[in-house]
C-alpha cells in the first residue's frame, strides 16, 4: 500500500490539491496505535487508482476537519469522533458525538485501553 505521509498542518492544503486534480474522496480510516496516538488515513480515488494520505495525531492535538473541501467527509469524521473520541474542529455538520452513541456516553469504544486489556489478559 502506497501512502504519502504528511503533517496535520499540511492536511487541508493537500486535500484541496487532491480536489483540484479531480480526486474523489473515498473514506478515512482511523487506527488506535496506543492509548493516546492515532493514525489517520485519507483515501482518494482517481481513474480507479487509490491514493492515500497518512498522518499521526493524538487526542490533545486535534486535526482540522476537511469538510470545507470535501463535504462528504462529514459522516466519517463524525464516526471517528464517536468511536475514537477524537475531535475535528471546523466540522460542517457536527453531531457532537451522537451519531452512533447516546448523549450521556463519554468513553470511546474503539480506543485502546491499557487497563481493560490487562483485565482480559488476566482472564
Amino acid at each position: 500500500m502506497r501512502a504519502e505521509t504528511i503533517t496535520p498542518d499540511q492536511l487541508v492544503g493537500a486535500c484541496a490539491r487532491m480536489k483540484a486534480e479531480g480526486f474523489r474522496f473515498v473514506t478515512m480510516t482511523c487506527t488506535a496505535m496506543d492509548e493516546n496516538s492515532f493514525e489517520l488515513l485519507y483515501h482518494f480515488d482517481k481513474n480507479l487508482e487509490l491514493s492515500t494520505l497518512r498522518l499521526t495525531t493524538s487526542k490533545d492535538s486535534p486535526v482540522h476537519s476537511i469538510t470545507a473541501v470535501y463535504f462528504a467527509a462529514f459522516l466519517v469524521e463524525n464516526e471517528i469522533q464517536d468511536l475514537f473520541g477524537l475531535r475535528f474542529p471546523g466540522l460542517a455538520l457536527d453531531y457532537n458525538r451522537t451519531l452512533y452513541l447516546d448523549e450521556e456516553i463519554r468513553d470511546a469504544p474503539f480506543c485502546k485501553n491499557a487497563a481493560a486489556e490487562k483485565n482480559t489478559a488476566a482472564e
Binding site: 474523489r24 473514506t27 480510516t29 483515501h43 462528504a72 459522516l75 466519517v76 455538520l93 474503539f110
Partner: protein, 358 residues
C-alpha cells in the same frame, strides 16, 4: 411561509431499515436535510480483536445480508493480497458467478421496493416473484438462501457441479424472459415516469464531489464501476459499465434495471469460460502489513482496509460500505423537492442502513 420541521423515519412505510431524516420544510418544499444514524450500530469492526482472521470471513459476511458474498470476497481478496496467495482460476470464476447472483437478487429486491415506494404494489410483487428464483438458486448451490457463506481465505468452500451450472443457466433464461415482460410497466409507464423523472437530480460533477458510488454515480453519467479493476475473473470477460445521463431517479432506476441483464450476461460468459481444477489454495502463515481492496457491490464500491502484524488477530479492519458514501448525496438531492417525493428519492440511492453502521 413559516418553516417547520418534519421527522422522516426511523420507522417509515418505505424504509426497510431505520434511518432518520430531519426535514426542514417551507410549505411542502424541502429546505434542509439532516440525517441521523445509529439505530442499528453493531461495532463489527471491533470484533477483529476477538475473532481470528479466518473467522472474520463469517463476521464480515454479516455486515450486510443482501451483498454478503461480496463483503466476504472483498475481505478475502484483501487478506490474500497481503499474504501473497494466488487463488486458483476456477475459484475466481466461481466467486464471480456467486457475486453476480447476489447482485441479481439485490437489484430485484430494490426494483420491487422502489416500485412499492411510489405505490405500484403489483409490480413489487412481480419483481419479488422473480427474485425468489434467484434465492432458490443460492439455496440449492451454496446451502444458504441469503448469507451464502462460500468464501474462505484462499478460495471457496463449495464447487458447482455441471448439473448445477446447467440449472443456473436454465433458471436465468426464465428470469431474463420475465424481466423483459416487466420492462414496459416499469420504464414506459406514465405514472412511474411522473414520479421519478426530474426528481433528485445530481450532476456528474456534484456526484463525484460528494463521493457517490455505484448506480448513484453511474445514473449521473460517470462510467465508474469497480468491476473495471478486473478483480477475480472480471478482467477476462467482456464488460462495459451501464451509464445513464440525466442524474434523476429515473436514470438510477434504468441503470439498475439494465444491470440485471448485465449480471445475467456475465454469468453466462463465466459459465462458458470456467476452467476445471482446484477451488482453494493452501493457506499458511498469518497476514502482515497493510492491505486495501475494493469490490463493486450492488450499491456501489465497498472498501476494505486491513492492518495486521502477524498475530492471530487482525489489528484493524475498516469497512466503508457503499451506502455510507451515498448518504451525503441525499443532502444535495432533497432540497427543493416536494415532501411527497422524499420516499422515492431516499430509496433511489438504495439505502442499506445495517451496512452503513456495521
Amino acid at each position: 411561509m413559516p418553516v417547520s420541521t418534519i421527522p422522516f423515519g426511523p420507522q417509515h412505510p418505505v424504509l426497510p431499515e431505520p434511518i432518520h431524516l430531519k426535514l426542514t420544510v417551507e410549505d411542502e418544499v424541502i429546505k434542509e436535510v439532516v440525517p441521523a444514524l445509529g439505530y442499528v450500530h453493531r461495532g463489527l469492526e471491533k470484533l477483529a480483536g476477538t475473532r481470528d482472521f479466518h473467522q472474520m470471513v463469517q463476521i464480515v459476511e454479516r455486515v450486510c445480508g443482501i451483498c454478503s458474498m461480496m463483503h466476504a470476497m472483498c475481505y478475502c481478496e484483501c487478506v490474500e493480497a497481503m499474504m501473497g496467495i494466488e487463488t486458483p482460476p476456477r475459484a475466481r470464476y466461481l466467486r464471480l458467478i456467486w457475486s453476480e447472483l447476489n447482485r441479481l437478487h439485490s437489484h430485484l429486491l430494490w426494483l420491487g421496493l422502489f416500485a412499492d415506494s411510489f405505490g405500484f404494489e403489483s409490480l413489487f410483487m412481480q419483481f419479488w416473484k422473480i427474485r425468489e428464483k434467484v434465492m432458490d438458486l443460492q439455496e440449492a448451490t451454496a446451502g444458504n438462501r441469503v448469507i451464502v457463506s462460500v468464501n474462505v481465505i484462499g478460495g471457496l468452500r463449495r464447487d458447482l457441479s455441471p448439473e448445477q451450472q446447467q440449472t443456473i443457466l436454465n433458471i436465468l433464461d426464465r428470469v431474463e424472459d420475465e424481466m423483459r415482460l416487466l420492462e414496459k410497466p416499469l420504464l414506459g409507464d406514465y405514472t412511474v415516469m411522473k414520479r421519478t423523472k426530474g426528481k433528485g437530480i445530481v450532476s456528474a460533477a456534484r456526484a463525484l464531489e460528494l463521493g457517490c458510488v455505484g448506480p448513484t454515480l453511474r445514473g449521473s453519467g460517470v462510467a465508474q464501476d469497480m468491476r473495471q479493476l478486473g478483480y477475480e475473473a472480471y478482467g477476462d470477460l467482456a464488460f462495459e459499465p451501464r451509464v445513464e445521463k440525466d442524474g434523476d431517479c429515473y436514470s438510477r432506476l434504468k441503470v439498475r434495471y439494465r444491470e440485471v441483464f448485465q449480471s445475467i450476461d456475465l454469468i453466462r460468459q463465466a459459465m462458458e469460460k470456467i476452467p476445471a481444477g482446484e477451488i482453494a489454495a493452501v493457506v499458511k502463515g498469518r497476514p502482515e502489513g497493510e492491505g486495501l481492496a475494493r469490490v463493486e457491490q450492488p450499491r456501489g464500491e465497498v472498501f476494505y482496509y486491513v492492518k495486521a502484524d502477524g498475530k492471530k488477530y487482525l489489528e484493524r479492519i475498516r469497512i466503508r460500505t457503499p451506502t455510507f458514501a451515498n448518504v451525503p448525496v441525499l443532502l444535495a438531492m432533497l432540497p427543493g423537492m416536494c415532501l411527497s417525493d422524499v420516499p422515492v428519492i431516499v430509496l433511489s440511492i438504495d439505502p442499506c442502513i445495517s451496512c452503513t453502521e456495521r
